[in-house]
């Protein structure tokens, strides 16, 4: 056997390997950039919008409580201090961001159910032109939008995870209540919701500060 021939083969192999690796590397960098660009665009905008919307709803919920108290008559300040059972927890649970986003989404769905209940009750208690009803409608509508944004954000952040179920988990609504109970219930729900929204805002702001979308590169 000729040794020169053996070395030539090895060199050819090395050249081909080098070429192949270079190509792979270039493809990997390109794909990474594309992914990064797409991730940034998809992540940044929904997050920003979700953050702003949560901020808006949280602000409007503060005004909503004021309006609610003003429309409930005397002793309305005491209504919110009463403890009521089966009100969704305003705190967000989970260790990972994905879990926490899921927690936000599910809690939001729960609160929407109670919110609807309060709206129905106040529809009976207030006049049709009451500003409370208008504000309740607005907050409810925005909350639905917030849920859509949360879902969109989750999908953009965690595309591989299962989509969020809009139906959420089963929630227990209180039994029929008297007027006083309805007033107390409504105040407690709105106050808790306000706290929840504040938690959501803070969570999303944390996500934004962490620049989650960029670090995932």
């Amino acid at each position: 056997m000729n040794g020169h021939v053996k070395s030539m083969n090895f060199q050819q192999f090395m050249e081909q390997a080098t070429t192949l690796l270079s190509l792979l590397l270039v493809m990997a960098v390109d794909s990474t950039r594309a992914v990064a660009a797409s991730r940034n665009q998809q992540c940044g905008n929904p997050l920003q919008q979700t953050l702003k919307l949560s901020r808006l709803i949280q602000k409007e919920s503060v005004d909503l409580i004021k309006t609610y108290k003003a429309s409930q008559g005397e002793m309305s300040d005491l209504f919110c201090k009463v403890s009521v059972n089966n009100i969704p927890d305003p705190n967000i649970s989970g260790m990972e961001h994905s879990k926490r986003i899921v927690s936000i989404y599910t809690h939001l769905q729960d609160f929407l159910l109670h919110f609807n209940r309060v709206y129905d009750q106040q529809t009976d208690l207030q006049s049709s032109t009451s500003p409370l009803l208008t504000e309740l409608e607005i907050v409810r509508a925005r909350s639905i939008y917030l849920g859509e944004l949360i879902n969109s954000l989750y999908q953009s952040l965690f595309p591989n995870l299962p989509v969020l179920d809009p139906a959420g988990r089963p929630t227990t609504l209180p039994p029929p209540q008297n007027v006083f109970q309805q007033k107390v219930y409504g105040c407690v729900v709105l106050k808790t919701y306000k706290e929840f929204l504040l938690n959501v805002f803070q969570e999303l702001r944390t996500l934004k500060k962490k620049k989650l979308c960029i670090r995932r590169i």
């Binding site: 919008q49 919307l53 808006l56 409007e60 409810r140 939008y145 969109s152």
Partner: protein, 794 residues
């Protein structure tokens, strides 16, 4: 495959042919635009869109448009509404989907198909149009006279929609807005401070807003205008000082009135002026001159400061400053030279003043002087108005910036200022706009003649002229043709010539400017029948002629009175007063030299006879009719009318001077003569040496001798007939002074019947001059024989 395709095409062709002509699938809607407006503190859920349709609607196949609006992300159905117009509105749920994405499109559909427009997918804030900011307020601060603070509010909370603003402002009364740079009005502000403004000026301010996100939203309308005046500040420019010079009361004195206007940058309301007048030769009083405070005029923009009487040989310096509520301005100064030295400061050259595009423009050339001009003052005086403006040193043309009235004559002057010293002005008169005069000249007749007339007209007053008079046109007519004559503007009278005499003329004058003309009232006059002096000439001529005639007649009478007398009042001697005198037939008559004693003259009266041959030649030799005067102391009567001689008389026959005796006596008949007395009593008589012949006594009648007496032999036969025919006549002349002489004359007088025509012609009273005109008529042969050759002494 091919057959199927062919069948499809055939089916489409049939379907297409079955449908009415000109029907197609709907056109794709284009230029879709939508907006969501503000509603109180929210954005309205009513979403308005419009688009452009392609193709037209047809009644048979109408096209419908459906607007779709989807809120993203969202799983719900898009909101939609259908219309056949190109605009519609759709309601987006219970609240405007802030921070959500909206996807909007329009679908056009008809029976033939449908087509969608381009999808418009943007953040919901992209479509928002807010209301303008409300409650805009502007604040001024005394400590910042060049700044104004603007505050405003907006109903939409920032949490809902973050807004950006824009601001614009302008000075009150101006048209152009000044925008504040967008970079200066950062997002989400509610106030802004305007700077670099003019103190004590009113500003108008407006604010507008939109979605703060770049490229999103529509600008709102401008807010309502808010006005505010900036605070006062100290004047930052000098007052405008000037003067008006007039003749003073005293001789060699000028009355100077100092006037001024507010500083351009008054920065407030000028309250008063401080003025200081300094005579350069006066010493400073106590180290500082006195300032006098003068309140600003409450009316108008010009303040009268002070009036002084300045001697022509003196100069003066004036200083002033203006004061407002904050402080005083810098000093302005003006220096007036002594009158004699004014020429040292040369005026501008080639000054032109002309109207152009509604303004009065000036052009000039710098003065030809070694001294440096610091600025120019353009002054204009019209009627009661005076104003001025200052121009920079390098200005050579400018327009008057003040208000000028039309039809007013302005006296425009340009003064060069040499470091405060006023130079000599250049002046021109000008009108901003000329028009027809308000008044017409008054035309009057100055002097009229027969063929000419001089007209005068008054000059139109300055206030009514309304322009420079370019010419006068004089019109005149006698009723048939109108004549006109154009004369220069500097004339005030004109003489019309070639007029008809004794004719009435109407005349009028037209005064013209470049802006029009004015015609005077008619003035009528009548030319004279006669030229001036003509009547006088005629009268004088006639009078002189008459006078001449009278004088001549008088002279004639005076110098030819004898002839006249003889002709008109022939002397007929009174036979009763004739006396017998000695008469010698051959006694030559001698011309006696007149005596010196002043004796009464005795002349021989020659009587004309009708017969032209009354002078016989034989009588010529014998008789010599002496001309001249015969002076005799003795009264001779009957000789040539001596009976009537109370005064010396001359011989009438002057024409016979030196003439033939026959001629002399051809026209006269001597019928008597005076026998001279003895030499001692006569003068001028040449003593005759010849012995006197026999003297015959004869009656000294002036009657011519009869033939019978003359030629008794020949005429004896005829004498009887004559005597029968001619009765003796009474004497014509009577002389009361000497009745004896008259008697003698009467004796000698024979009936004057020498004219065969009878006595009528003899007795007719002769008129003046007739005596000389008497011609001897042909006398018939009668016993009456005229004496020829003179007087034959008997």
């Amino acid at each position: 495959m091919v057959c199927a395709r062919v069948l499809q095409l055939l089916a489409l062709a049939c379907l297409g042919s079955a449908l009415p002509a000109r029907v197609d699938v709907p056109g794709k809607p284009e230029n879709l635009s939508c907006e969501a407006v503000q509603q109180k503190q929210y954005i309205s859920t009513t979403f308005s869109c419009e688009w452009q349709t392609v193709g037209s609607q047809t009644a048979t196949v109408p096209t419908s448009y459906t607007l779709y609006t989807a809120v993203l992300p969202g799983s719900g159905q898009p909101y939609s509404v259908t219309t056949q117009k190109n605009r519609t509105q759709v309601k987006l749920g219970d609240t405007f989907p802030h921070y959500m994405t909206l996807e909007v499109w329009v679908e056009a559909h008809n029976k033939l198909g449908k087509i969608e427009s381009e999808h418009l997918k943007e953040d919901s804030g992209w479509f928002v149009k807010t209301d303008p900011p409300s409650d805009v307020k502007v604040f001024s601060e005394k400590s910042f006279p060049t700044s104004l603070l603007i505050n405003w509010t907006h109903l939409i909370p920032t949490i809902r929609l973050k807004l950006t603003y824009r601001i614009r402002y302008r000075q009150n009364g101006t048209q152009n807005w000044t925008p504040v740079p967008l970079g200066d009005t950062a997002s989400d502000i509610k106030s802004f401070r305007l700077q670099d403004l003019q103190p004590y000026q009113v500003y108008e301010i407006q604010v507008s807003c939109k979605n703060a996100k770049e490229g999103h939203g529509y600008w709102s309308d401008w807010s309502t205008i808010v006005t505010k005046r900036t605070p006062e500040a100290r004047p930052t420019s000098k007052p405008d000082l000037w003067r008006v010079i007039a003749e003073g009361d005293g001789k060699n004195e000028r009355r100077v009135q100092f006037i001024c206007k507010d500083p351009v940058l008054a920065n407030g309301r000028i309250v008063s002026f401080d003025i200081k007048i300094q005579d350069p030769k006066d010493k400073v009083k106590n180290g500082s001159l006195e300032w006098k405070n003068i309140p600003r005029s409450s009316q108008g923009k010009i303040t009268d400061l002070k009036q002084i009487d300045l001697a022509d040989q003196k100069s003066v310096r004036v200083y002033i400053n203006a004061t407002n509520s904050v402080g005083k301005s810098d000093e302005a100064s003006l220096f007036i030279l002594a009158k004699a030295r004014e020429s040292e400061l040369a005026p501008v050259e080639e000054l032109k003043v002309f109207p152009h595009r509604g303004q009065l423009w000036l052009e000039w050339k710098p003065p030809n002087s070694t001294k440096l001009v610091s600025e120019y003052v353009v002054e204009w005086v019209g009627g009661a108005q005076i104003d001025w403006q200052k121009e920079k040193r390098n200005t050579t043309h400018t327009a008057i910036k003040g208000h000028l009235d039309k039809f007013v004559c302005y006296n425009v002057s340009v003064y060069p200022i040499y470091s405060g010293w006023i130079g000599k002005p250049a002046r021109k008169e000008a009108y901003l706009e000329q028009g027809a005069p308000l008044e017409a000249p008054i035309v009057r007749l100055h002097k009229a003649g027969r063929n000419q007339a001089t007209l005068n007209w008054t000059e139109i007053s300055q206030g009514s002229r309304r322009g420079f008079i370019t010419n006068y046109t004089i019109f005149y007519t006698s009723g048939t043709e109108v004549h006109n004559i154009t004369v220069p503007a500097n004339t005030a009278s004109y003489t019309l010539t070639s007029l008809s005499g004794n004719t009435k003329y109407d005349t009028w004058v037209k005064a013209s400017t470049i802006g029009g003309s004015k015609i005077s009232f008619n003035h009528s006059f009548t030319t004279l029948r006669y030229a001036p002096g003509e009547m006088e000439f005629i009268v004088v001529g006639v009078s002189l002629g008459f006078l001449f005639i009278v004088v001549m007649t008088m002279l004639l009478c005076v110098y030819k009175k004898d002839v006249i007398k003889e002709n008109f009042w022939p002397q007929i001697p009174d036979p009763g007063e004739s006396t017998i005198g000695n008469w010698s037939p051959d006694y030559p008559l001698k011309a006696d030299t007149p005596r010196e004693n002043g004796l009464s003259g005795i002349s021989v009266l020659d009587m004309d006879v009708c017969d032209g041959k009354c002078v016989f030649e034989e009588d010529k030799a014998s008789l010599s009719l002496k001309k001249g005067k015969y002076l005799s102391e003795e009264h001779s009567s009957g000789i040539g009318g001596s009976s009537c001689m109370s005064s010396p008389r001359q011989s009438v026959s002057d024409s016979d001077e030196g003439g033939d005796m026959a001629d002399t006596t051809a026209s006269t008949v001597q019928y008597s003569s005076v026998v001279p007395a003895p030499p001692s009593g006569y003068k001028g008589q040449t003593p005759n040496s010849q012995p006197q012949q026999a003297l015959f006594s004869r009656s000294e009648s002036t009657q011519p001798l009869l033939d019978c007496e003359e030629n008794p032999d020949v005429l004896q036969q005829e004498g009887s007939r004559q005597s029968q025919r001619s009765p003796p006549r009474p004497p014509r002349f009577t002389d009361g002074a000497d009745p004896a002489g008259i008697a003698e004359q009467q004796e000698l007088l024979e009936p004057l019947d020498f004219c065969p025509l009878g006595e009528d012609s003899e007795q007719a009273t002769p008129v003046d001059g007739q005596a000389a005109d008497w011609l001897p008529a042909a006398a018939p042969l009668s016993s009456y024989m005229p004496q020829l050759g003179g007087y034959r002494p008997q």
